[in-house]
């Protein structure tokens, strides 16, 4: 059995892996794990990833979780073009720096923006107070600004003149609040220009394909009570 990637394109890190694998022609079996049906909580999936999260990779007997680790694994194994994760000491450090920073900052803000604006009220039927939503969106704003001011600055891409893993991880994160109806690129021409460059570098068709699901998040039908009960504890833990 070849490489298997356990993904749900609803999830930001899954989108980054999907795009990366497709763009680099890495052969894989897509194993869809439907998050809103709670499939990640099944016994079958916990054989693949005991941490019960997507994305997950299975390569023969070897299993791996954590999107950053998976992206790096694919990079090392499939010898992709250097610009994705440069050999150069300082260029690589810049990519590592972004990949480390984003976990507790932009990633968290984008996740909370989607859940507080759309998923809680629409999918789970749980109201979110205007104050909570405002605080979440304010935090998102701070982190998007940091992305622009500290990481992008006046460069073409986050880590230098070419697209890297950092850009892929960042853009797939930002599409989360975009899917929730947040206009993160409005009033940010530099960031909007970067977004267009990233989309062009990845390929418009692939980019659109990867983001089809998140862009329809507002239209998800409400969860039935059983599913809601199953998902709630982990959702609450995930977005805290």
């Amino acid at each position: 059995m070849g490489l298997e990637l356990y993904l749900d394109l609803l999830s930001q890190p899954c989108r980054a892996i999907y795009i990366f694998a497709k763009k680099n022609g890495i052969p894989f079996e897509l194993r869809t794990v439907d998050l809103i049906k709670g499939q990640h909580l099944s016994d079958a999936f916990s054989q693949v990833n005991p941490l019960k999260k997507v994305p997950a990779l299975k390569d023969g007997d070897f299993t791996l979780s954590e999107s950053v680790a998976i992206l790096l694994y694919l990079t090392h194994k499939y010898k992709v073009p250097d610009h994705w994760y440069p050999q150069d000491l300082q260029a690589r450090a810049r990519v590592d720096e972004y990949l480390a920073w984003q976990h507790t900052t932009l990633r968290r803000s984008c996740l909370r923006a989607l859940w507080h604006k759309v998923m809680f009220p629409v999918f789970l039927g749980e109201p979110v107070s205007p104050q909570t939503l405002a605080a979440t969106l304010a935090e998102l704003d701070v982190n998007v600004q940091l992305l622009e001011d500290k990481f992008l600055q006046n460069k073409a891409f986050l880590a230098g003149p070419h697209i890297s893993l950092a850009d892929l991880v960042a853009i797939t994160e930002l599409m989360h609040p975009v899917g929730a109806g947040c206009q993160v690129f409005k009033g940010r021409p530099k960031l909007a220009a970067w977004r267009n460059r990233v989309e062009a570098a990845v390929g418009e068709d692939l980019f659109q394909e990867a983001h089809e699901i998140i862009l329809k998040a507002k239209d998800f039908p409400p969860a039935d009570p059983t599913t809601k009960q199953k998902l709630m504890p982990r959702v609450l833990a995930m977005i805290q």
Partner: protein
């Protein structure tokens, strides 16, 4: 021009960078950025790292933040022995998997214990509810359980027989709640034994030296806390209520 490392050993990521650098005899200037005196908000430091976080590295004109990135940089630049960041595809992936996971699963809960049990009471004079503390402790216990079952398992170290960056980052994080008198190693003998092995690999003297400021935090005179720091903390607390 020598390597500059901007650190305060109260911070776990700083300790990882400090220990690694000392262990490998990497020559550096220890630029002490005193968190308790608010030096991370000084103009001088903001020029280095506008995010006002520690650690930062400055190598000539090159400035780098984020301890995970700094550790990889030092490993590569100074050709550390391979077991620290193994070249084997699968073994390397395990290190990277832990380094990614620990940001949210380890760092946040470990820090929270110190805030809830020590810093908030000392700074505001108000005790934190037992309920909040219990919740934070449960989170730490859950993370440690996952650490043991998924990352450590029955191996000597996370990657197998030798210490790697993953063990270093893990141990300094698990040490963090010691500042609040919470010894997370009491949870299991497996964890305690792993800690001993990591400590011996690093060198007990270096390990103790790196942690001495943390261990003395509870005895520090909090009335001398920098007013800007106190203000920032109070703001943060209000926001999180």
């Amino acid at each position: 021009m020598a390597l500059e490392l901007y650190m305060d050993l109260l911070s776990a990521p700083c300790r990882a960078v400090y220990i690694f650098s000392k262990k490998h005899d990497i020559s550096f200037n220890f630029q002490f950025v005193d968190l308790l005196k608010g030096h991370h908000h000084s103009k001088e430091y903001i020029d280095i790292n506008p995010l006002r976080k520690l650690p930062s590295l400055k190598d000539g004109k090159f400035v780098l933040t984020e301890s995970v990135s700094i550790l990889s940089y030092l490993c590569r630049k100074y050709s550390a022995p391979l077991h620290w960041y193994p070249p084997d595809l699968h073994t390397r992936a395990r290190v990277e998997e832990f380094m990614a996971w620990q940001h949210t699963a380890f760092q946040l809960p470990m820090k929270r214990i110190v805030w809830l049990k020590l810093l908030i009471p000392k700074i505001t004079g108000e005790e934190v509810s037992a309920e909040k503390i219990d919740h934070a402790v449960a989170e730490v216990k859950n993370s440690l359980k996952l650490f043991e079952e998924y990352f450590l398992q029955d191996k000597m170290f996370i990657t197998g027989d030798q210490i790697s960056l993953a063990d270093l980052v893990a141990v300094v994080e698990i040490m963090q709640p010691m500042a609040a008198n919470y010894n997370a190693f009491l949870n299991s003998s497996k964890l305690a034994e792993w800690r001993k092995r990591v400590e011996l690999s690093i060198g007990s003297g270096l390990f103790m030296e790196a942690h001495s400021r943390l261990m003395q935090l509870a005895d520090w005179d909090f009335s001398t806390l920098d007013p800007v720091v106190k203000e920032n903390i109070s703001e943060l607390l209000k926001k999180s209520k």
